[in-house]
Amino acid sequence: MSENKYDDHINAVLSECPNADREEVREAFAKYESEFYIPPQDALRSIIRRFKGDIAPSSGASSSSNQKSTVSKKVASLTELSDTDKDIEIEVEIISHNLREQTIRGEQKQIAFGLLEDNPWDEGAQRTRWEYKDWGPNSNISPGTVVRIEGASVNEYQGKRSLNINQSTRIAVLREGTRPVVTPGEPIDINSIPNDGYVCVVGRILSSRPDQIHRKDGSGSLDVVRGRMADESGTIGFLSWEPFDHEVGSLVKIDGAQVRTFRDTPELNFGRTTKVELYHDSNFADAESLMEQNIVTISQLRDGSRDVEAIVQITEWTKRSFVRDGQEKFLWSGQIADPSGKCRMSAWEELPINESDLPVTVKVRGVRVRAWQGIPDITVDKADQVEILESTPWDGSIDLSNHVVEVPLTELVNGSSRVGISTQGVVASVREDCGIIMRCTQCRRVLRDGNCNQHGDDEGNQDVRLRLVIDDGMSTSSLLINKEATLNLLNTTEEKIKAEIDSDGQIEFVQRLRGKLLGRLVIASGRTIVDEQGAMILADKTELVEQDPGLISTEIRAQWGVQ
């Protein structure tokens, strides 16, 4: 055990308590470690407190004049703090944590910086977000953790406040983080880039073009560079605010790129502190093969994506006209599909496609993706973004207009909205508003007491639907079953349902439905809408799975060796 192993910590104590005896401080650290198994970084704050306490009364007024005795200020929210507050105690959630080498007084030091938010326990509450600098840096700070910070101070610079976490500050972890921890300088796969924070990636430049961003206030424009880069795991768009002259095809390492997410699509931002350097790895995939994987399937389309490449089959295509600014304009749109699913496509220029040729397979390049009601819509701005292919790269015999893809429930719930899917789960809830509903005659919203929240009183059109929740033990989704599928599932008619509810009441009707459905495994096909509210499956076909428990039981015994 080396004699000076506590030196850094002792210096930290002495800087706070200049009158303390070096040897005594050393002994204190040794005692904490050997007798109480408290490592020096955890003991630091207690020791400082002790030596401050020791000194203050004995040294009297003379020393307190140059060393202000501080009282810990305990606050619940950042807004309670003023510019000069020191020795603050507050509980916060760490949003991001980034390590950085910095030269301080001629010495290379590692410090950390990032964002934190107050009110960490109150999920829905208004939270204030501040930047912080961690001079420790403390090893127990990581994104997603909730910590109590004891002994931080406010730093005010040009009217902006941030929190300084000093070497003597104690960090108590109250809840461990669940966010991925990103080590700086350690490249991560492009497909595992989080939705925010700073990352390091190694990738090949697939495209790069100068662009301009016009300031909204009209005060000029900024030159930027936009492009895409890729590694074997995926591709991502980037936006460089600094000059960026690496050629298409070059392999670069980018450290300290900031991830920003537009709609559902993350994008890398390169700024002043981002380090971009050429990277050498002869085994790294070449541009050509990366370009190929840049081609996405319909299931991978995300709202807000740009520069998308895909091969899809157009199954329906119609021309619409509308009048804007007194001029007639045209828009072509229709259904597209690939083996992963279905969605829509729109074009602002005419494509050489006749309705009689359908289905037509095309390759689209450089297109953007918008989503409407959760359904992705590929937007084609120029006809030359579309190339008509002779044949499909997949088995051409698949009839994509009726093609349904089976997707596990958890994958659906955690993905983006999709069309043409089928999934299964156990019915975990039969909602009390199943059965007959009235829909607004103008917008099809469900009426409440004959009232549409958009169009007011309305006599309504009668409709039938089921509203269930299905569950696979990990994820849940609402399941809305349309009239036709409901009548098929229950083997009944609209009139019979109406008569049953009229004679027995809604509660009894729903209870009978539960008797039929609760706990049953159901397969549903249709489309999904996934948003902040969770996932919703709109089903046009459902069936209950008939199970043979004896058979399943035998399988379980075989699988697990239970005899």
């Binding site: 829905g124 509450a125 009390e432 209870q511 008797g515 609760l518 706990g519 969770g534």
Partner: protein, 309 residues
């Protein structure tokens, strides 16, 4: 990040009464609308379960504030779930309770399946009990009960495997995640391993075998003597006892204290409860004998034990 803020519906776990009933740990975030969870020994972190079994009891009870609370219990091959239906339940759930209660009292056998919220509470003496608050329920036939049993066995076996596989890994979120432990189990395993310490899985295996027998229609196995009631004993903060015998003595006394309805507690129940806590039959038998010898317990009728007061 915004998406993690919105409150998502918690999944319902298929679970046997033994796994749920032995839980003594719960967790709740501090926010008003944070879900609460019960953490089982296997590391299931459950807010909602889907359970089934024979409805054994469903009785009204007057509460202090004048409302009526229905208390009930349903039995599956592994034990009993306790549940209550009060004013907070939905109209449809209360309506169903009113219909079922006289049927149960009349001795009509009812297989019930329910989706319920989990709850854990502690009495003033420190005993910890689990209970359920059904959200939706329905009567089912034996085929659906059997199907529920198979699904529940499958899920329980999977959890047991995940639990056993994770034992070599340090119980922290980082280590378990790195060790590719199924993500829905990670948080529960960390809490469970830190709270329960070492646990014995053998009785879960027995429960599963019996459940599968029933699912296969082997009624003779299914109609074997009913499982003994298993109560939860609050965790002792006492130190580790190498041979565990004094701990066992305390546990046995505690079980008798809790289960004694006046005529004592029968031998088999004591053995089952002790084995549920990892003590073998022979060790437990010996301990019962020695407790009897030292005069801590007495045997008013053959095979029935009471605490000497």
């Amino acid at each position: 990040m915004q998406s993690s803020r919105s409150i998502k519906r918690q999944s319902a776990w298929h679970m046997l009464a033994s796994e749920f009933g032995e839980s003594t740990l719960n967790e709740k975030g501090s926010g008003e609308f944070d879900p609460s969870f019960v953490i089982t020994k296997l590391g299931s972190k459950v807010n909602r379960v889907i359970v089934a079994g024979l409805l054994e009891r469903l009785e009204p009870r007057d509460t202090a504030n004048g409302s009526v609370l229905y208390q009930g219990q349903i039995r599956d091959p592994s034990g009993v779930h306790y549940f209550s239906v009060g004013d907070y339940a939905s109209d449809s759930m209360r309506e169903l309770t009113l219909q079922l209660s006289p049927k149960v009292e009349g001795g009509e056998p009812i297989l019930l399946l329910m989706v319920a919220k989990t709850r854990l509470f502690q009495t003033e003496e420190g005993a910890i009990y689990t209970s359920l608050r059904p959200e939706e329920a329905c009567e089912i036939d034996s085929n659906r009960y059997a199907t529920w049993l198979t699904k529940t066995c499958q899920d329980t076996l999977e959890r047991m495997k995940i639990f056993t596989d994770s034992l070599d890994i340090e119980p922290t979120i980082e280590a378990l995640t790195k060790g590719n432990v199924a993500s829905h189990m990670v948080e529960g395993l960390v809490s469970s391993r830190n709270h329960y310490g070492e646990i014995d899985l053998e009785h879960y295996n027995l429960n599963i075998m019996q459940a599968l027998d029933i699912a296969e229609g082997k009624i003779e196995a299914a109609s074997a003597p009913p499982q003994q009631q298993i109560v939860s004993v609050s965790e002792d903060d006492g130190g580790d006892n190498p041979d565990g015998s004094d701990e066992l003595g305390d546990i046995l006394l505690d079980i008798i204290k809790k289960l004694d309805q006046g005529e004592g507690v029968d031998f088999e129940t004591l053995i089952t409860n002790a084995s549920a806590r990892g003590f073998s039959r022979s060790v437990a038998e010996e301990k019962i004998e020695s407790l009897s010898d030292e005069g801590s317990i007495h045997e008013p009728a053959f095979g029935w034990f009471r605490i000497v007061s």
